[in-house]
Symmetry: C2
Subunit: 665 residues, 2 copies
Amino acid sequence: MQHTITFTHNDNQGSVETPTGTLLSDAAHLAGIDIGQPCGGQGRCGRCAVQVTGGTVRRRSTLRLSPADIEQGYALACQAVIEGDVSIYVPPQEKIERRLTTDRVVAEVSVPSDYEYPFAQTVRRVHLTLNPPSMDDQTDDWSRLQTAFRLQHQVERVTCSVSLLRKIGDVLRKGDWRVTAIIETIRLSDHETIRLSDHATIRLIDLLPGHEDEYSPLWGCAIDIGTTTVSLWLVDLVTGQVRAQVAEYNGQIARGEDVISRIMYASRNGGRDELRQRVLDTINSLLDVAFKRVKLPQGKVTPEQVVKTTIAGNSTMMHLLLGIPASNIRLSPFITTVNQPPLTTGREVGLNVNPEAVVDCLPGVASYVGADITAGVLSSGLDSAENVTLFLDVGTNGETVLGDRDWLVTCACSAGPAFEGAGVVNGMRATTGAIEEVWINSETLEPTYRVIGGGKPKGICGSGLISLLSESFITGILDKGGNVNLMATNSRVRDGAHGGEYVVAWGAESESGADIVLSRVDVDNLLRAKAAIYAGFTVLAENVGIPLETVDKVLIGGSFGKYINVEKAVQIGLLPDMDWSRFEFLGNTSVKGAYLALLDWRKRERITEIAKRMTYIELSADNSFYDAFTSALFLPHTDMSKFPSVAEALSSKVEGRTSVDQGDF
Amino acid sequence: MQHTITFTHNDNQGSVETPTGTLLSDAAHLAGIDIGQPCGGQGRCGRCAVQVTGGTVRRRSTLRLSPADIEQGYALACQAVIEGDVSIYVPPQEKIERRLTTDRVVAEVSVPSDYEYPFAQTVRRVHLTLNPPSMDDQTDDWSRLQTAFRLQHQVERVTCSVSLLRKIGDVLRKGDWRVTAIIETIRLSDHETIRLSDHATIRLIDLLPGHEDEYSPLWGCAIDIGTTTVSLWLVDLVTGQVRAQVAEYNGQIARGEDVISRIMYASRNGGRDELRQRVLDTINSLLDVAFKRVKLPQGKVTPEQVVKTTIAGNSTMMHLLLGIPASNIRLSPFITTVNQPPLTTGREVGLNVNPEAVVDCLPGVASYVGADITAGVLSSGLDSAENVTLFLDVGTNGETVLGDRDWLVTCACSAGPAFEGAGVVNGMRATTGAIEEVWINSETLEPTYRVIGGGKPKGICGSGLISLLSESFITGILDKGGNVNLMATNSRVRDGAHGGEYVVAWGAESESGADIVLSRVDVDNLLRAKAAIYAGFTVLAENVGIPLETVDKVLIGGSFGKYINVEKAVQIGLLPDMDWSRFEFLGNTSVKGAYLALLDWRKRERITEIAKRMTYIELSADNSFYDAFTSALFLPHTDMSKFPSVAEALSSKVEGRTSVDQGDF
């Protein structure tokens, strides 16, 4: 049976016909209205709430809706089933700000001192001069080119795609039989060599008329596909220099904020194609920005000039990029289709680079330890560390690697997106309007905060949440178990719709006019996130019998990791309580590893070795993880002896001082 | 400046706006009217004539239009330039009948007696049984599959495309870890072997759930792309049996009837893509018919089941199929882009077969001696003949090969499409309504003819033209030089719009109501066609010092060759005058060669060897060809001593008898 669904959205009205049982979110899609579903349509985040203004829908779930919401007709679009004619008001959603965070992502990076293009690079530029054809020599163009490779470069075997064959006739003639070949070399042995004859096969990537300057740039790019952010470096393969660094939110965010939501969305009809297209759109728009940023005498870089790409990212991101079903990653026993994807091309992946460009998706280890971690281990130097080192990649997934130059063990835990602002009532990403740091006066319990961009606050981002959680605990608003102390003497501490809560900003000062709060539910989500990460590395250390305090260094990767206030992260029990000098913040270790692999085949092979060397420990199969996790679901931990500096801060609070003086602000 | 062009066609009227200088044919295309251009828009064939009913156009050429035509407003759409508002009437064109000529193309073919699938075939079906994953073994699917190949078939290296990786996870689980792999083997050595470990690389073509019956069919197809006709055989690679034979006109015909017209059309904007799509459409519709024709217990064959394809065709057809520019084939020194295309896939070519199917475009020798000839040499057995043999492929191009098991020389000449009915006033293809044989009473000069399908005649096809030319000559209507004897006593012999002509059928008996004639212009085209073919093989024989009469056998290939009346072909000087028992008509030798190569890698390598062994002689660079050609521009030849049987027939005519008694009919 068909029903008429009438939508009102942004002053527009329109209607669609759908059969009984259709999801409201699908009907909206049909009507051309894009309702963001950060949790992937699981009814978990509450962001897709719409108002039913006529008729009724069946609500499969009302999680995230208060009784008052339901009374006003609110329903989650992803959970509302159509059973009759209805009218729907779609309120304006929080916009996903597509801010190019170039200011934050520009990392200082220097070309490795040992980089010598002809020895290290698998992509090369060679010159060829052919004898022109005549009535006495009617050899076909392709055989003529192969002969020139044999006679001028001792190459026995050259391969070429049919697509590239389409242009060689024109190029040979345009160049008057003098051409430049861009080739991919596949080595016969591990021996370092610049002689092409030592390569088993040469693959033709491009053919250009005339002899191009040997020192002019040859373009490559290194990409990290994060669940939240995609980073791209445009590199001159001849000099090794990074010529542009750009980053943008992953366009898949609108269809799920964590990998599990994305996998679930991908399982829906058409979902896999949509997610693939979304991340491709993100990468291709980043390429476009990067191309424009490099100033060349002859204009900007063109897509055809990019002849090699390395890609890092977690296993789910890699599957979604390549259009490979990811559903088994989510289901026990958690199996990827492929950890080490075959070398492929720009055309096959769908990147706006040379269609024949080498595209090298770096190898991962397991469903939840992907190429972002193997690349991160390489660029962090963990795999050659003399002393035992801990590497944490703090993001939506919390991956941990422990080891040194002789051994490496790894595990992953789902921290969830709480630290990135999702699953938290007033959470948001670290964009303009986000409260990024909070200080609470331990006597008055009045807060002071800093907002990104300096305007009115819209919500609280990850670093703000860490800060707020820490301050609330140190000032006694929250107890060790995360319970809100409703006996506190400030009206900011109150009983809210979701239990006890603390008002960080009153409606009068906020952008939306509504209070910005930290609720009991939020605290639980944050505790689970930090407990998962903490339990991850502690269980890993226990598993290999390494006391955490003997770890020489803690290397922290992930763009998130760059902005954490270490003291507060220790106070909530996210990071271990050790001398701050042992922490090192490395920024995006994944894209840096992809860059090193882009330049040098020895570094690239090292990533394969790292992937092989890493012993993956599945935490979900480990009872001790569950124990460690539950012990860590406290502020900072059930066992205070593990956090002596926090114990000291608490005792100084008792003496009437806050841990950080507000005067610092 | 924009002009309004109003078209009237099939009772419909519509108009488009185009700028000054637009070709009328392009304007019609814009208006959605498809005007066939058999000569590729060169103004040569006159088939695209339309009537200007209002306004005027500039006629770049009026070739093929009589003064009366021009007076009535007729213009060639491909030669008419728009310079103002005009109204155009597009008359109904001769339809290209897309008749499936299966009745004619079904060749008797038996599986080679030495065919043993596991030894000869490069495509194989293997069974694999994998250990299911568990929490103790979280190996990724692709590595697990590779391990099974290594342990169960001693295969060290398996490759797989990203596209195929997309399905392996589902297939492994659907088959409960028992799967059938369809693989392409690439041999390490020439040694015959069924051990997979003797192959350098295994490429995965498909993966299917469960263990498929080892003897169930594995599908392949052999294709010959002729300039006029495309033939396709659907083959069970396990038994080697041809299960369906289908053929259809090449959809490119509407854009040029010979290779030169096609090359010119391809050089136009968008022309190359259009021609590629047209031949793909033809092949894919043939596949569809072939699939339906095979009855299987589980239904019809599906595209995904076709895992290997071999393709033969002349060099221009091969370039156009692969989308490779063909313009240099036409221009001195006549260079192809590629004679031996790399192995490719169903996806890359655009065939409606398994996207990973091996597609093997067979190797050619030169611009005008393509894979249809190398495949034809193989299937004709010429390359292993004990005595000197002549192989003729009679078609739009006339290719000739002379040799035996020790040597092979080849040449080609452009015969033109006259024998296929193009470039002849009342010419048509051999479909319903075509006069296919003519007898003329030598006393009354009254004709008798046979029409394909038995109805009213529409025109004359190739075999009818050979017959008519021969009869007109033997009965004295035409003299040795092809001139019409206007002193003849029958009113059928008359002075027409294009010079002297002979009326084969009066308007009262024809389909259109107009007279069907053989004109002086037609005779010239036919003479040029037969002279080119005759000169080709005689010059080739002279070049290698082999007197034509010492040739042991004349093998005639091409679907055309099957229907030639040998006596009449000798009488016009198309075939040499020798004992008819030395002629052997082989039908489509090209598709048969493609079939042999499809089955057996040794036969496939033999084609490569044939291509290498063939010495190509470029006739356009040879003065003796021009001499031989001009000497052959007579009926049957200037030198009657070369045609003793014809001299005899002429002398018996003098005695008052026709060479063939009408009573035979």
